[in-house]
């Protein structure tokens, strides 16, 4: 409790004749509301199924696995994303990279994300040293069964094709290479 010396008492301002007459003020209010009523152009609602929302590029939706210029998975199976994941929804099985791939030792044999367990926090994206995993702006994620919602490598790579084709690449990809190990995706 503040002491009485610290307290000031404020009186609200007195009402003038206009306010005391009620009517002019009410007319004023009515003018404002009727203006809004008649301004058809200023409707803010998006009619969702017909009108898709325009999401910011840093939106965190469905994951995708990025490909490099040769169409290979960028992922080097380092397990950083699986380790960072607070929901433990990423399951990777690593295998030795083919002989022809000189730049890496391992590649993911399987790469599975349980989209139902995922909390879309984006920490896998932050952890990835080669910008292989990214969250896209795809938000309407649905499935008929739990099995359908477990995305494997092919599915995640197809999300890459889909979003690149639609021109809705996430903000990281748009901003170019981020680390020494990463490279810009094909344009």
């Amino acid at each position: 409790m503040p002491a009485e010396s610290e307290v000031t008492w404020v009186e609200p301002a007195k009402l003038g004749l206009f306010e005391q007459l009620y009517l002019p003020i009410i007319t004023d209010g009515l003018t404002t509301t009727v203006k809004h009523l008649l301004s058809v152009g200023s409707r803010l609602t998006e009619s969702y199924p017909e009108q898709e929302p325009k999401l910011p590029p840093n939106y965190r939706g469905v994951h995708r696995l990025n490909k490099d210029e040769q169409g290979r998975t960028k992922c080097v199976a380092c397990y950083m994303c699986a380790t960072a994941c607070p929901a433990h929804c990423i399951d990777i099985v690593a295998a030795p990279a083919p002989e022809a791939w000189k730049d890496r030792e391992k590649y993911p044999e399987t790469f599975v994300i349980d989209e139902l367990r995922c909390i879309y926090c984006g920490m896998c994206e932050e952890a990835c040293p080669v910008d292989a995993i990214e969250l896209t702006t795809l938000y309407d994620l649905t499935g008929l069964s739990r099995e359908q919602m477990i995305f494997d490598k092919e599915k995640l790579l197809s999300v890459f094709d889909q979003t690149t084709k639609a021109g809705t690449d996430p903000v990281r990809t748009r901003s170019g290479a981020l680390g020494p190990a990463s490279e810009a995706p094909p344009v």
Binding site: P2, E6, V7, T8, W9, V10, E11, P12, A13, K14, L15, G16, L17, E19, Q20, L21, L23, I26, G29, L30, T32, T33, V34, H36, L37, S39, S42, R43, L44, T45, S47
Partner: protein, 417 residues
């Protein structure tokens, strides 16, 4: 005493109900649409084209949902309350004109005081002729020629509060009870200016019959011009009577959950809603009939006076358009003015509206007594209104008597920054 042909009466009642019920439904839609547009939204637009079938969907849902009756309620009164609310609203419609009307035939005195000439046989014959002619005319009102007219509407309309009180009491719930108590206090307070504002009109028309009131206004001019203050008081009290914003304290969601509606669901709730919106329709028609000249519109209504059908269509159109304007006004005001606090509500009724209505009535009596020009009353109305404002400025206790607020002084070093 008017006589009624039961078949015609039945058809007219059926017709009126068949129009009023869908209107109530579409009023809920327009309420939602207008609120949405005012808030830069679209409003319901999924059911049918432009959402026009929304009321049907709402009604179907009301019918098909389970009607929950909590175990702790007083079952009889709990079920009676919505019925009371809806019935009183519908019954009040019986004498309100919605189309062309004729004033009831002036009675001829058969017993006269000594010294005044007795009515001739001619006068009696003429009277009976007029009665027969009057019977043949089409009248846009369920019970034409009812002499207590507006008194009946007020009597039945005030019964609507029983629905609220019964509902709140029978629900056996603190929120419901608080809501219904507020409502009873509010409606009883606003009943006084409501009745008082009408008396000034009755002094001039000399009849309580609504057809007579329209007739007077068609001949002399609308009361909204002669008694603007009475109209203002009437409109404000009617908003309070209908429990519409800014006077919707009985169901103030923020304080009372749903007020007296808290325990109601499905069609029980729907009946309360129907009652409320029917009340709105009735009062809109009342404002039209009592203050805005009913079907009269500067002589335009008589363009097709010889054709019965066109006469009916034009006059009904005019009166319904005016009532429609007031209905839209209800909704515009609802989404413009915030709710009153309860003490402000009581202040407005007892300290402002009741004194004003009494003074206005006094002025009307003086004008009538000394046979002054009707426009004198307009001036008095405006003067009373302005002087109320001036008095408010001179002697008002700040904006709406808000309590003084404590504010902690900022520390000097913080203030210096």
């Amino acid at each position: 005493m008017p006589e009624f042909d039961w078949l015609t009466l039945g058809i007219v009642i059926f017709g009126v109900i068949a129009v009023v019920m869908p209107t109530v439904g579409y009023l809920t839609l327009s309420e939602r649409k207008i609120s949405a547009w005012m808030q830069d939204r679209f409003g319901p637009n999924r059911v049918g084209p432009l959402g026009l079938l929304q009321p049907l969907a709402d009604g179907g849902k009301f019918f098909l949902k389970e009607a929950p009756i909590p175990r702790h309620v007083d079952k009889l009164f709990f079920l009676m309350a919505p019925a009371a609310s809806m019935c009183t609203a519908l019954v009040a419609l019986a004498v309100v004109p919605w189309g062309p009307t004729q004033p009831p035939v002036q009675l001829v005195a058969t017993v006269t005081e000594a010294g005044t000439p007795a009515p001739t046989a001619d006068a009696v014959a003429k009277f009976e002729e007029q009665v027969v002619a009057n019977k043949k005319e089409f009248k846009g009102v369920i019970l034409p020629g009812l002499d207590i007219g507006i008194l009946y509407v007020f009597a039945v309309g005030s019964l609507a509060v029983y629905g609220i009180i019964l509902g709140g009491w029978a629900s056996d719930n603190k929120y419901s009870l608080l809501g219904c108590l507020r409502s009873s206090a509010q409606i009883i307070s606003y009943e006084i200016p409501l009745g008082m504002s009408i008396v000034g009109v009755l002094l001039f028309t000399g009849t309580l019959n609504m057809e007579g009131m329209i007739d007077w206004q068609a001949k002399h001019g609308w009361f909204i011009a002669f008694q603007p203050l009475a109209f203002l008081l009437f409109m404000t009290s009617v908003y309070a009577e209908c429990n519409r914003l800014p006077f919707d304290l009985p169901e103030a969601e923020q304080e009372l959950v749903g007020g007296y509606l808290t325990e109601y669901g499905s069609l029980n709730f729907g009946m309360f809603m129907i009652g409320e919106y029917t009340h709105m329709i009735t009062t809109s028609l009342l404002m039209t009939v009592v203050f805005c000249g009913g079907w009269s519109l500067f002589g335009l209504e008589n363009l097709m006076a010889d054709s019965v059908i066109w006469n009916g269509v034009i006059k009904s159109g005019i009166i319904l358009a005016k009532a429609g304007f007031f209905l839209v006004m209800y909704q515009l005001v609802r989404w413009t003015i915030p709710r009153f606090r309860f003490d402000q509500l009581m202040d407005l009724a007892w300290k402002v509206m009741i004194p004003l209505s009494i003074l206005h009535l006094l002025a009307a009596m003086l004008v009538r007594e000394f046979n002054l020009n009707n426009w004198v009353l307009t001036g008095v109305s405006v003067a009373l209104f302005l002087s109320a404002g001036v008095l408010g400025v001179l002697f008002g206790k700040g904006p709406n008597n808000t309590p003084r607020r404590r504010v902690v002084k900022r520390q000097p070093e913080l203030a210096a920054r």
